[in-house]
């Protein structure tokens, strides 16, 4: 009996959370589409999310691209497929590693920061103060972050794709003895329009998820410093899980025959 009660409580909590998140998402998106827009805030968020994430995303991409090339070379040498390094690096990085690793790194940096900032505003009554100043918190706090993250993640991932492929190129030509011209030609020959498009679409979806989770958990945080800490953790964990889940969905939409 208690076991059934436990299942029921878990189910009800899940449904309540899903409903609250659904309403929050609809409300947020509607504010993203309706004027007025706080252009200064959107600009500052774009710089914060895009520009200041460049070092972490760039370094991650550079070393992952190099490691990918090395692993494929070592693994491929078992069946004389070393020449496939350039093609596999570009496809693997542009289709998967660029958007997913970029998304996860930005989730750790940006989603946590958004949850902490908005959560602190919640527990110190700054969000209530916004309301009393006739300013909708969704319009002022949530919409600029959602718009900025959805626009900036594709830019970041595009840069990550280029740096990742460059990492593979540097390692292959410097350490593994590949001919630079041949490597670049193979890279360009293998890359298709759909690969780049799927990368950018994934990045846009991940950007939306990162901002949504950061804002949602921050906006609903309760109970002082501990509540803000919990919100921050939940934002990063839920954003990361949703990124991996949506990655599968977008991949299926683009590439399943």
């Amino acid at each position: 009996m208690n076991f059934l009660g436990l299942i029921g409580r878990v189910m009800l909590t899940f449904l309540a959370t899903a409903g609250r998140l659904g309403i929050f998402t609809v409300n947020s998106v509607s504010h993203c589409l309706r004027p007025p827009f706080f252009i200064r805030h959107i600009g500052s968020q774009m710089i914060n999310i895009g520009y200041y994430s460049l070092p972490v995303v760039g370094l991650t991409a550079l070393f992952t691209g190099a490691v990918l090339a090395l692993q494929i070379y070592e693994g491929g040498s078992r069946f004389n497929a070393e020449s496939a390094v350039a093609g596999i690096v570009v496809i693997g990085f542009v289709r998967e590693l660029g958007p997913v690793l970029g998304g996860l790194m930005v989730a750790g940096r940006v989603s946590a920061a958004m949850a902490a900032e908005i959560g602190t505003m919640r527990v110190t009554e700054q969000i209530d103060a916004l309301t009393t100043l006739a300013t909708d918190p969704f319009k002022y706090l949530i919409a600029p972050r959602l718009i900025a993250a959805t626009l900036m993640l594709p830019c970041l991932v595009l840069v990550a794709d280029v740096i990742g492929v460059a990492g593979g190129f540097i390692l292959s030509t410097d350490k593994l003895g590949f001919n630079p011209g041949a490597y670049l030609k193979t890279t360009v020959d293998y890359l298709e329009y759909d690969d780049v498009m799927s990368s950018l679409v994934k990045a846009g979806v991940f950007g939306f998820i990162i901002a949504l989770m950061g804002c949602y958990h921050g906006y609903h945080s309760r109970g002082g410093a501990q509540g803000v800490g919990v919100a921050t953790t939940n934002a990063v964990v839920s954003a990361s899980i949703l990124i991996l889940m949506s990655n599968y969905v977008v991949t299926e939409l683009f590439f399943s025959q």
Binding site: P36, E125, D128, A129, T131, T132, A134, T135, D136
Partner: protein, 263 residues
């Protein structure tokens, strides 16, 4: 309870307002009238629902039952632009000042005016300096961050923000909590001066009897979610209500029992 029969419509009128959080009943049928230009002070112990009451009036919280009318308009049903126009009538000083950390003092003061695009940024800065002077702060404070201010200065900036748009109604949530007696009196005097200048209707929530005696035209006491007494300030010492007597004299013995675990 003092009953007054007036023909005038009250500026703020609450009838049967109820609010609960889970099993905990916070407001249990609150009735309250505040006339235009009147300074109402609500007293009551911690956790009696004073802050919840003003948050219900502002629409930050939605009451479970009851009617809240402001200027004759039912506030609980307002949505969208109507609600935004409704909120433009209000200013509020929060207990912890609730200044925006990410903005300098002058942008905090003129936030409402800038957000509604009623003035340009240059004008807003000049106006902020002028309003800061009204609350006893120098012009150089305008460029500081809220984190660089003392508690008393933060309250004064919060007061400046509350009055910047010249609102019809101002709420003060525990304006003197956490301040020394002298700074508390400074804040009380500023509140009286600002409100007299603007002619605003105000509701103040406080435990501080010095604030009550300085600010109030009318006083109400909230206990266990009900408004158990309202009357003019001059009658508070002779209210005949034992709950009010115990509260204003700060006695541990009386009908109000604090839930304290005795060791």
């Amino acid at each position: 309870m003092t009953g007054t029969s007036t023909q005038r419509m009250p500026k703020i009128s609450l009838r049967g307002v109820k609010k609960r959080f889970g099993p905990k009943v916070v407001l249990d049928g609150v009735d309250l009238d505040v006339d235009d230009g009147e300074s109402m002070v609500i007293i009551g112990g911690s956790g009696t629902g004073k802050s919840v009451l003003i948050k219900c009036i502002l629409g930050i919280l939605t009451p479970d039952e009851g009617s809240i009318k402001v200027g004759g308009v039912e506030a609980t049903r307002l949505r969208g632009k109507e609600r935004q126009a409704f909120l433009e009538k209000f200013g509020m000083l929060f207990q912890g000042a609730a200044l925006f950390d990410s903005l300098p003092v002058w942008e905090n003061v003129c936030f409402g005016l800038l957000a509604e695009k009623r003035i340009r940024r240059k004008e807003a800065r000049d106006l902020a300096v002028e309003i800061l002077r009204q609350v006893g702060l120098e012009a150089d404070v305008a460029n500081l961050s809220p984190a660089e201010l003392s508690g008393g200065m933060q309250k004064r900036v919060g007061l400046a923000r509350a009055i910047a748009a010249k609102p019809e109604i101002i709420f003060f949530d525990e304006p003197t909590t956490g301040l020394d007696p002298i700074m508390a009196d400074v804040i009380n005097s500023l509140i009286v001066d600002c409100v007299q200048d603007l002619g605003s209707t105000t509701i103040t929530i406080t435990h501080d009897m010095a604030s009550v005696r300085k600010i109030a035209d009318k006083v109400g006491m909230l206990y266990k979610g009900k408004m158990i007494w309202t009357g003019p300030k001059s009658e508070i010492d002779s209210s005949g209500n034992e709950y009010v007597d115990q509260f204003i004299h700060g006695r541990a013995e009386g009908p109000i029992h604090m839930d304290i675990l005795k060791l």
